[in-house]
């Protein structure tokens, strides 16, 4: 079991239980699984991802490889998992390549942080896989939202961790890159059976095509967990999104016929 939580409480006030966003949840994630966290806006998906990434303090228990996430040193946790958060404002601009190279931070041991050949190879590969080779010299503040999203995705990939936490990775991406991202993630999962993916998805179809396990959240709690068959029953999604998801999806499909 790579991740295991019990009575997990998490929030943004000094003491998480005072104004909790995540309320006493319990879940288990096995090594090698591909997990999608689904739920309506504000249900605590991103907060859960932050707690797993060790970015937010929490109460209760959250074990990563058998040890409490809070007891990890920053370095140690970043060797195990890479988090791609939602885009934030940029104040100082770097080039695409420089930004992706920052993903190699923990791998580079040179005193002045000069990248070695392996760092360069990995960055090259991540740039290529995200369609960034042609704009590698551009400043990231000149890029569109989708291009920027791909830059940060490439940086997260360059960390080469066995666990990936992605917060709405398809945000800002056009259809082509959504499709490519899907392929990319599937490839990455196949590369090594230990590769574990945990993602927050708005796009249920994307989640279905990449993931084999689902956590459905509502109001800071997990209302359903398990495989596609268990979770995707109309009732559970109806409860989570407070709408008839299934007939909405079918209606959308009907436009194509």
């Amino acid at each position: 079991m790579i991740l295991k939580s019990k009575d997990l409480v998490c929030g943004y006030s000094k003491k998480p239980h005072i104004n909790p966003v995540i309320k006493n949840i319990e879940f288990q994630i096995e090594q090698g699984s591909k997990v999608a966290i689904l739920g309506a806006n504000g249900c605590g998906k991103t907060t859960l991802l932050r707690a797993i990434g060790g970015i937010l303090p929490y109460e209760g228990s959250l074990l990563l490889d058998g040890e409490e996430v809070r007891s990890y040193k920053r370095r140690k946790i970043a060797e195990k998992l890479a988090v791609m958060t939602q885009l934030s404002q940029l104040y100082f601009s770097y080039t695409v390549e420089e930004t992706v190279m920052l993903g190699r931070y923990l791998h580079t041991n040179h005193i002045f942080g000069n990248p070695d050949d392996r760092d360069k190879d990995v960055v090259e590969k991540c740039l290529r896989r995200n369609g960034l080779l042609e704009i590698r010299g551009k400043q990231i503040d000149e890029l569109s939202g989708g291009q920027r999203q791909r830059v940060f995705l490439a940086r997260t990939m360059a960390q080469e961790t066995p666990i990936l936490l992605l917060d709405e990775p398809t945000n800002h991406l056009d259809l082509r890159y959504q499709a490519e991202l899907m392929e990319y993630l599937l490839d990455w999962c196949k590369e090594d059976p230990a590769h574990t993916l945990i993602g927050v998805f708005h796009d249920i179809n994307m989640a279905l095509s990449v993931c084999d396990q689902f956590l459905v959240m509502k109001d800071g709690q997990i209302i359903s967990a398990g495989s596609k068959d268990v979770v995707l029953s109309g009732e559970i999604l109806k409860e989570a999104y407070e709408m008839d998801v299934e007939s909405y999806m079918q209606k959308q499909l009907s436009f194509w016929s």
Partner: protein
């Protein structure tokens, strides 16, 4: 190709900076020709006798007055610029500086108490004001960081900035109170605040130089963390940087540099704010380049400002802080906005 132009820019900037510093030593009420200057410096350094052909008054003007003064200005400029670059990146705020963190308010209050109480006039030696200025400024920042860490467990940037600014205002209020009650001393206090390099000796230049070298080396060891922290705490943490620890260390070193600068020069604004921005424009945002180039360019800029401050209305001297803003604003506007379309 890009690498090459980058390297060329660095080399040209360094050469220009050295030329500026040399010119600053040569220009003044009495001009010291570069050739004589070189002879004097050569013989002083090698400890050999200076030929009689050189006017003895030039020797003392150059060696005892102008060189230490210019170098002092250079190192103060280097310290302020490096510290400004760090503050902006760590706090993720293009307007942040040590002054936002209360260095100047604290240092001025310390000096004000010394001047008003009359201790400054007693025979404690010429280092009383600088040492007190340094300690008061530095301790103010430590206090600000300490309290920010207490109120906000995650030490978020806006907490640090907000508390720093509020506390600076509080200290400034005390300062205003003291000035209004002890109006006899106001003139001296204002002069100290405005900043000047007049009468700086080798010892001052030497102390600031050591601080700059030590601080600069420590900062350079953190250049990658600085790069990463400009993307924000969350991203920095997920890349493996212990943001809380790094923030404390980097802010303390940056404040130490400003404190060391302020104590020998008074409050000189503008350099720490603008030089790093100009450097980022010219050399990109990587701190591997931003830090050393800020030091070189900031140093040359302040040496130039000091030279202007003592020559433009000679024999009167105008406050160097006024010059940095008057010269700096047009320069900054040009560098920052001329290629904003690119």
């Amino acid at each position: 190709m890009k690498q090459k132009t980058h390297r060329a820019k660095i080399i040209i900037s360094c050469i220009l900076s050295v030329i500026i510093v040399i010119l600053c030593m040569s220009i003044g009420s009495v001009s010291v020709p570069v050739k004589e200057g070189v002879t004097i410096v050569f013989h002083k350094i090698t400890g050999t006798a200076i030929p009689d052909s050189v006017n003895p008054s030039l020797i003392s003007i150059l060696w005892e007055i102008r060189m230490p003064r210019t170098l002092c200005a250079f190192f103060v400029g280097a310290a302020l610029s490096a510290s400004g670059a760090v503050m902006q990146s760590v706090l993720q705020n293009p307007l942040a500086s040590s002054y936002t963190m209360g260095v100047s308010a604290g240092a001025t209050l310390g000096v004000a108490i010394l001047i008003v109480s009359g201790i400054a006039n007693t025979a404690l030696g010429m280092f009383t004001l600088p040492v007190v200025g340094f300690l008061a400024g530095f301790l103010t920042v430590i206090f600000v960081i300490g309290v920010a860490a207490k109120i906000d467990h995650n030490m978020q940037n806006h907490t640090i900035i907000m508390f720093g600014m509020v506390f600076s205002l509080f200290v400034n209020a005390i300062l205003t109170l003291i000035s209004s009650l002890a109006s006899d001393h106001v003139q001296r206090l204002i002069l100290w605040q405005m900043g000047s390099f007049s009468g700086r000796r080798w010892i001052h230049a030497g102390i600031v130089c050591v601080c700059v070298i030590v601080g600069g080396i420590i900062l350079m060891l953190w250049h990658r963390e600085l790069d990463i922290m400009t993307f924000g705490d969350e991203q920095a943490m997920s890349l493996g940087v212990d943001t809380k620890k790094s923030k404390v260390i980097l802010l303390v070193i940056a404040s130490f540099l400003t404190g060391a600068a302020v104590c020998f020069s008074g409050i000189i604004g503008f350099v720490d704010l603008t030089v790093p921005h100009a450097v980022r424009r010219l050399f990109g945002s990587k701190h591997k380049y931003v830090l050393p180039m800020s030091m070189v360019i900031g140093g040359a800029f302040l040496a130039l400002a000091d030279m202007i401050s003592r020559t433009i209305l000679a024999p009167r001297e105008i406050p160097v802080g006024a010059v940095t803003a008057l010269v700096g604003v047009p320069f900054f506007v040009w560098v920052y906005f001329h290629d904003s379309k690119k």
